[in-house]
Subunit: 123 residues, 2 copies
Amino acid sequence: MFRHNRYMTALPTLAPANGQDCCEPTGQPALGAEEAKRKAMVFKALADPNRLRLLSMVKAESSGESCVCDLTEPLGLGQPTVSHHLKILVDAGLLHREKRGTWAYYSLVPGALDGVAGILAKL
Amino acid sequence: MFRHNRYMTALPTLAPANGQDCCEPTGQPALGAEEAKRKAMVFKALADPNRLRLLSMVKAESSGESCVCDLTEPLGLGQPTVSHHLKILVDAGLLHREKRGTWAYYSLVPGALDGVAGILAKL
DNA sequence: GGCGTATATTGATGATCGTCAATGTTCCGG
DNA sequence: CCGGAACATTGACGATCATCAATATACGCC
């Protein structure tokens, strides 16, 4: 009965439990369960074709922002569905929502996409 | 009846239909539906905490590769589940699988994570 | 004040996903 | 050839998701 394992020491898996819950600046001791769950949520927001297209369309807009009525038709989706996707992107910290009058204008959160790239780099 | 829309021209949505189906080097005419679906698949592979941890653990391994039996315990998942997740990561082009004897060794595909970061940058 | 418009929210439904138990497959050592 | 070990595959089940129709909210205008 061989059982050759490293990692046997049960991993420092749980969240650091220190006040600041962001990424540990130390080497890369393999993601803990908590951090992994947080970071997976961002990728989950990106894991839908229509949401990727929404981000792309918002980014492509010269004015830097788009309102829902501009986004709903090119996607071929109903307005409630588009609103739902936009909410997910806002909750993920990727889009910013500003309501002016009856319209809601969505724009990219400045460093957000770079931040996601950073997650990948420091995986 | 107002209906102020740009984008009215039905978008150049469909895939370029040229032989090379990769990313268009042109500006950023907003993702088409096909490209968006392909790119979303990569993010879907990343959109699970346990898969992120798997990538992290494989990357953290000094030898550059890990076999399943090393990965199954720290995650607290059954072996079939780990195999399933690894398959998804391989199918997404993020991990490489090499079978040596009874063991299967998984390693990061060299430029893969950078490639994903590139998708984000050129959204 | 009341109507139309832009957007958000709710509820429902079919599809996909994550997980496990059980089983199959391939390899190694005796 | 046989038993065991490492891994993959299958089938099932509960959970989550994407979408829509219907409804609610909030705003601008006559």
